[in-house]
């Protein structure tokens, strides 16, 4: 897919493909690991874990940028369920490879990457515009949200 952005990306990050494909969207970033089962409500795509900094926020339709998965082995099934309910993230970037996150990404079938040359948590903030080209193993970041056509030049 062609990029929706109208100027070159501010940041490029290289990494490894977890699940192939290309996607573009708004980032939702957390520095805290995420529990699947018991940590999210799959009907709303919402984080529900007590004391989590994203508690009450939805990742539906967002590119989820997070350190990694934790908690129950129901992680993949819970995120898989968000695919059924239409509340899944559209892409994922994570730093720590676990069976939970890898299997979750596979069954959600969303473009996903890991093993980066620079830390996405340092480069990407919530609201930034992100393009994941997992097949080319490149993440492009536009700071401050989707570049508007008026922003050209």
């Amino acid at each position: 897919m062609a990029t929706l952005a109208t100027r070159p990306a501010d940041v490029l990050i290289r990494g490894r493909k977890v699940v192939g494909g290309v996607v573009e969207g708004e980032a939702l970033v957390t520095r805290q690991t995420i529990s699947g089962w018991g940590g999210v409500n799959p009907m709303k795509g919402e984080i529900i874990e007590m004391r989590h900094e994203l508690r009450g926020q939805s990742f539906a339709g967002k590119i989820l940028v997070f350190p990694g998965a934790k908690g129950s082995s129901g992680w993949s099934a819970m995120f898989h369920t968000t695919r059924l309910t239409g509340q899944a993230p559209i892409g994922m970037l994570y730093n720590i490879t676990t069976t939970k996150a890898a299997l979750g990404a596979v069954v959600m079938r969303v473009p996903t990457m890991t093993d980066f040359d620079s830390d996405p948590l340092e480069q990407i903030e919530t609201g930034d515009w992100v393009r994941i080209d997992a097949d080319a193993a490149v993440v492009s970041v536009w700071k401050g949200g989707q570049p508007s056509p008026e922003g050209i030049g």
Binding site: G38, S72, S73, T99, A102, V106, V107
Partner: protein
């Protein structure tokens, strides 16, 4: 990375063992590549929740038939088309499920939901899968041996398998275990490999840890400290027992993502601290002393405000026979308070032992319920009107208040049973 497949695995992927095995291999290859695994490891010990689903998931796949076969194909195997699912030819068991097979009405389940549960269970049995229906398969007929490659779900069972037994399993998910029941393979990654199992951080235990309550507190601290890394614990840990490891591991797996731990001189791959690390101590050093112990206790009890306890839940992870005996001892001659409820969860196998041994009868006579198969967090079932619950499990305290939007207290088994019998929480850190 492209995985290296044996000739047999290539043939399986290409359909030599039928379409279900081909779909299972396709999913396992996608999963292995996502992990960065080089090849597969053979397994004949698989614990999952194959094909079981609530009615709404079947309805979601209505166009595909809306039955067990449809869910197994489309959800468990993540296949775009429905395939015939054969009887599995490995040793597979079904972990915990959605409701008690007898007390489902008390759990608030509908006739329709129970009919769905029964239909799923008939399918599970017909597919050659052992109906253990527990988060503690190692207490109900599936005990791996040291070094055995397993594919287990259920974080508390995984951490027990790796740490206490020396079996080798990653924290598998529903889809990978269902696929592995057909393909008898999982990616050769993580805990299947020797180097991955070595310790990464040291926890020096200074506060004495002896009772099951103290083991649980230390477990909850450990998970929060090391997150998903492998801790090596050394120091004032004593009186090891199965139920203490069970509580410790479940707590560490829920506050962090601990899938394996070493305790120097206690667990099988940690005869010494050095052996546990595979060399010199590395990573961070944490201390568990009186202050950390108190902070952990207060954190667990931060979701409790009202002391009027209307629900006490025991059996997370599922109680063992000796825990049921202990609960019966604490309950004998007492009754659950009219404003409170006591539900105790275990497996069908252990319940059968408790029936034969008399503890089940004592528990029931006190007005408590002895339930199997599930727990409040899994089934999202609590007594009607529950606002404040109490637990002797750090794991359940971590999960149930968040899932159900209720208050929760954490304490000893004695404090929990006292709360059930008085309707008041009077727990404190000794």
């Amino acid at each position: 990375m492209v995985m290296r497949l044996s000739d047999e695995e290539k043939a399986m992927r290409d359909g030599a063992q039928g379409p279900a095995v081909a779909k299972a291999m396709d999913l396992l290859i996608r999963y292995g590549e996502a992990l960065g695994a080089e090849d597969f490891v053979y397994t004949d010990n698989i614990a999952g929740v194959p094909g079981s689903s609530p009615k709404w998931v079947k309805d979601y796949f209505a166009a595909d038939g809306g039955d067990y076969r449809a869910v197994f194909s489309r959800f468990d195997l993540d296949s775009d088309k429905v395939v015939d699912v054969p009887r599995i030819n490995g040793f597979g068991c079904h972990l915990q499920g959605g409701m008690d097979p007898q007390l489902w009405r008390e759990q608030g389940m509908s006739d329709e939901a129970f009919a769905n549960f029964e239909a799923d269970e008939r399918e599970v049995a017909a597919h050659g899968i052992q109906v253990l229906k527990t988060c503690t398969p190692y207490l109900a007929g599936n005990v791996p041996v040291m070094g055995e490659h397993c594919a287990w779900m259920e974080s508390s069972a995984v951490v027990f398998c790796n740490s206490v037994i020396g079996g080798r399993t990653n924290c598998e998910g529903r889809e990978s275990t269902s696929a592995a029941m057909l393909a008898k393979r999982v990616p050769n990654w993580g805990f299947h490999t020797e180097d991955f199992r070595k310790g990464q951080h040291l926890i020096e235990v200074q506060a004495p840890v002896d009772s099951i309550f103290e083991w649980g507190l230390l477990g909850y601290f450990t998970g929060a400290a090391v997150e998903d890394a492998i801790p090596v614990l050394d120091g004032a840990i004593s009186s090891a027992a199965l139920i203490k490891h069970k509580h410790f591991g479940a707590a560490a797996a829920s506050s962090g993502g601990v899938e394996m731990y070493h305790m120097a001189g206690i667990t099988p791959e940690a005869p010494t601290v050095e052996r546990a690390f595979g060399g010199a101590v590395r990573g961070e050093r944490f201390t568990y002393g009186a202050r950390e112990r108190r902070e952990t206790y207060e954190q667990l009890n931060s979701v409790g405000e009202s002391r009027d306890v209307d629900y006490v839940m025991l059996g997370c992870p599922h109680y063992s026979a000796d825990q049921l005996t202990e609960a019966a001892r604490l309950l004998e001659g007492r009754t659950v308070h009219p404003n409170s409820n006591l539900w105790i969860f275990t497996s069908r196998a252990v319940k059968a032992t408790a029936e034969a041994s008399g503890s089940a009868d004592i528990i029931r006579k006190a007005g408590a319920r002895l339930m199997t198969d599930t727990c409040s967090a899994i089934s999202q079932a609590v007594p009607p009107g529950t606002k404040v619950a109490a637990f002797d499990s750090a794991k359940q305290t971590h999960y149930l208040p968040a899932i159900m939007g209720i208050e929760g207290w954490f304490g000893t088994t004695q404090e929990c049973i006292d709360a059930a019998c008085t309707g008041r929480w009077d727990g404190r850190l000794a």
